[in-house]
Symmetry: C2
Subunit: 390 residues, 2 copies
C-alpha cells in the first residue's frame, strides 16, 4: 500500500490522480491533499478519501473548509506552513506535485528534503530551481518521476536503455490552438480562442502556455534538469495529433518513443506505480483509425516563447526563474484581458532583458528572482495595458 | 572482443554485419563465415577478415573456393556438416543467423545446442520449429536476439518494461510494392514489379514475401515464439513509410515504439552489442522532414498470406513449417516465372489444406514436414504452370 500526498488535489492532475487511487484501493491511499482556494471540491475529496490531513494555501478558504468539515477526522491546515506540513507527512511515500506554477516550489522542495519520492506534474519548480531540486534529491536519495506527458514519454523511452547512448531528446508539441494563425491574427486572438486546446483538456494556465509554445520552452528546461541532458541535445517537433508523446534518439540512430491517446492517467499511474503498470480502462491506440501522424518544425518567429526557454537555460542561474515568473504574470494578465496574446511574449522578453542573473545557490535566490520578475513583469503589463487603452 | 560467426555472410544481412565488424575492430572479430554458392564474395570476405574457418553449403562451390584461396590460413569446409562445424566453433560467442529460408534451421539449431548466443535474422527456423528452438535455447542458457527490424523494434520496446504488463504487439508492414493494386492487377504482376520494394533493399526472397505480405505472416509466427505472446495479442498495421518499426502496448495503454530510417545496421548492431549501442554513422530520423506517417489495416482479401501465418500458428505443430516450405517453393516458382503472383498464395493454401499436422517434438518432425510440403507444393506449382501454358 503506497501512501500518497497530492499537492494540488483539486486541479486536473490532482483529480485524475484521485481517480486512480479510487480505482486501486489496495495499492494506494490518499493520506494528504492540498488545494489553493477550491473549498467545495476539497470538501468532497475529504469526504470520499478521508485523508489524515489537508492544507489550503489560502487561510480564509481553510477557515470556510473547517466550518464545513466539522466532525470529520481530517486535520485542516493552511498557508505555506500547512502545505509544507502535508507535503512532508511522516507516513507519505510519494508526493504528487501538481500545483500550478511557481507556488509549487516550496512544498515540493520540502517534500524532497523530507526524503519523499516525487511524481512531478508541476514543471515550474524544476524550471525555477532545477539544480537545487536535483541536488536535494540526490542528497536525500529521492527519485523524481516525471508526470508531464512528454517527460513521462522520455522517461519511458529511456527505461532499459543506457543514458550514455543518448544522442537527442525530441519533445513533441501539439502546436496549440493557434498554430496556423498569422502574426497579425495572433495579435487579435481572444482568450476563448487561446483556451481551445485541440487534444488535451487542461487548466487555463497550461493551455495558454500551450498556445504560446511557452509550455514547450518550459519543458525544454524541465527535460534538461530531469535527465541531465544539455539543451543542444533537446529538440522540439510540432506533432498536431499528440499521439507520439516524445522520442529519444540513441547513438546507433535507433529512436524509442512513447505513444498513446492523450490521457494524463497513463503517465500519472506510471509515476505512481513504477516500474509496474496498472491496468487502465482507457481506449487502445488504433493507428489505422487515426490514419495520419504529421510533423513540422516550430515557427520561432510567430512563437518566440519556445526560444526563450532555450535562451534562459543557456544564460542559466536565475534566468529560468525569471522567465517563469514573467510568463505567469503575463498569462494571468492575458486571461484577465488586460494585454493581448502577443503581449505575453513581449512581457517575458522585456523582463528577461531587464534581468541581471545570479547563481541559484539556495532557495532564496530562486524566490528572490521570482519576486523581482513578478514585480518587473507587472510594470510591463501595466504599460502595455495603458498603451492599449490609449 | 566478441567472436562472431555469420551464417549467410554473402547476403544482405551478412555483408551489413561485416560492415559493422570492420567499423569496430576492437569490439568484434569474424571467426567464421558461411555462404551458399557465392564463391567470389566469400573469397573477398576471407581476404578481408581472415576468419579461422568458412563453409559453403555447396560442395562444388567449396572446391572452387579452395582453389582460389590456396596459401590462406582459413579452413574451408562444405555441406551441412561444414556449416554445422562453423556454427559451433568453440571460440564463437555470437552466431548471426542470416541464411535465407529453412536452410538455416539445422546450423542455427546446432549453434543453440552448442550454447552460442544467436542474433536471428533468419526468421524461417523460428517459423518451422519455434518451440524446439526456444526449448533448446532455455536448456543451454542461450539468448536469441532478434535482428529482423520489426522484432528488434519489439525487443527494444520491451527492454526496461515488464512482460506481464504487455497487452499487444503491433507489427508494422510496409505493404510492399503492390499494396494499391486490384486483385486483377495482382494477377498480372511481373517479377520486376514485385521486386521493387519501396523502403528496404533486401534479397529477392524476402522482397517477394514483402509483396505478398507472407513476410508479415511469418513475422507473426516469429514474434509468437520469440516473445511467448499468443497470436491473439499480435496485430499488424500497414505503415507505408517504414519509420515506426513496431510497437508494444501495455496494460496502462502506454505504447512504446522503436523508430528509425530503414537501415538494417541498427538492429544488427544492437543484437551484436546488446545492451550497449555502438555509434553508427547513419542519418538521423528527421520527422519534420518526413512530414507524414500513415497507417491502415491490411487487406486480407487481396493479401491472404498474412492470414495464413495466423492460421498456421493456431493449428500449430508442423503447420507453420509447411506454410514456410510451400511459400519458399512458390516464391522460387514465381521468381522463375513459372507461376503468377496470385499463384504463390494459391500454392500455399492448397499445400496447407493437404497437410495433416503432427507435433514437432524433434528436429526430424520439422524437417519431415518441410520435405513433404516442398514436394506437395512442387506438384501444385507444376499443375499451375501447366494450366497457365494451356
Amino acid at each position: 500500500m503506497k501512501q500518497i500526498v497530492i499537492l494540488g488535489s483539486t486541479g486536473s492532475i490532482g483529480t485524475s490522480t484521485l481517480d486512480i487511487i479510487a480505482k486501486f484501493p489496495d495499492k494506494f491511499r490518499a493520506v494528504g491533499l492540498t488545494a489553493g482556494t477550491n473549498v467545495e471540491k476539497l470538501e468532497e475529496q475529504i469526504r470520499t478519501f478521508s485523508p489524515a490531513a489537508v492544507a489550503m494555501a489560502d487561510d480564509a478558504a481553510a477557515e470556510r473548509l473547517r466550518a464545513r468539515c466539522k466532525g470529520l477526522k481530517t486535520t485542516i491546515l493552511s498557508g505555506t506552513d500547512g502545505l509544507r506540513q502535508v507535503a512532508t507527512a511522516p507516513d507519505a511515500d510519494l508526493v504528487i506535485s501538481a500545483i500550478v506554477g511557481g507556488a509549487g516550489l516550496v512544498p515540493t522542495l520540502a517534500a524532497i528534503t523530507a526524503g519523499k519520492f516525487i511524481a512531478l506534474a508541476n514543471k515550474e519548480p524544476m524550471v525555477m530551481a532545477g539544480r537545487l531540486m536535483q541536488d536535494e534529491a540526490r542528497k536525500h536519495g529521492v527519485r523524481i518521476f516525471p508526470v508531464d506527458s512528454e517527460h513521462s514519454a522520455l522517461f519511458q523511452s529511456m527505461e532499459g536503455h543506457r543514458v550514455e547512448d543518448i544522442l537527442r531528446l525530441i519533445l513533441t508539441a501539439s502546436g496549440g490552438p493557434l498554430w496556423n494563425l498569422t502574426k497579425e491574427e495572433l495579435r487579435r486572438v481572444t482568450v476563448e480562442q487561446a483556451l481551445k486546446h485541440p487534444n488535451w483538456k487542461m487548466g487555463d494556465k497550461i493551455t495558454i502556455d500551450s498556445a504560446t509554445l511557452m509550455n514547450k520552452g518550459l519543458e525544454v528546461v524541465e527535460a534538461h534538469w530531469l535527465f541531465d541532458i544539455p539543451a543542444s541535445k533537446i529538440e522540439v517537433v510540432v506533432h498536431r495529433e499528440s499521439i507520439i508523446h516524445s522520442l529519444v534518439e540513441y547513438q546507433d540512430r535507433s529512436v524509442i518513443a512513447q505513444l498513446g491517446l492523450p490521457d494524463m492517467r497513463t503517465p500519472i499511474a506510471y509515476a505512481m506505480n513504477y516500474p509496474a503498470r496498472v491496468p487502465l480502462d482507457l481506449p487502445s491506440l488504433n493507428l489505422a483509425q487515426i490514419g495520419t501522424l504529421t510533423f513540422f518544425n516550430p515557427d520561432h518567429d510567430r512563437f518566440p516563447c519556445l526560444g526563450f526557454g532555450y535562451e534562459a537555460l543557456q544564460v542559466g542561474g536565475t534566468m529560468p526563474a525569471v522567465l517563469n515568473a514573467a510568463n505567469e504574470v503575463a498569462v494571468q494578465a492575458f486571461l484577465d484581458r488586460r494585454i493581448g496574446f502577443l503581449g505575453i511574449a513581449e512581457t517575458i522578453r522585456r523582463t528577461m532583458d531587464a534581468h541581471k542573473p545570479v547563481e541559484v545557490s539556495a532557495l532564496e535566490d530562486a524566490l528572490g528572482a521570482d519576486a523581482w520578475a513578478r514585480a518587473k513583469a507587472g510594470e510591463i503589463v501595466e504599460s502595455l495595458a495603458a498603451a492599449a487603452v490609449r
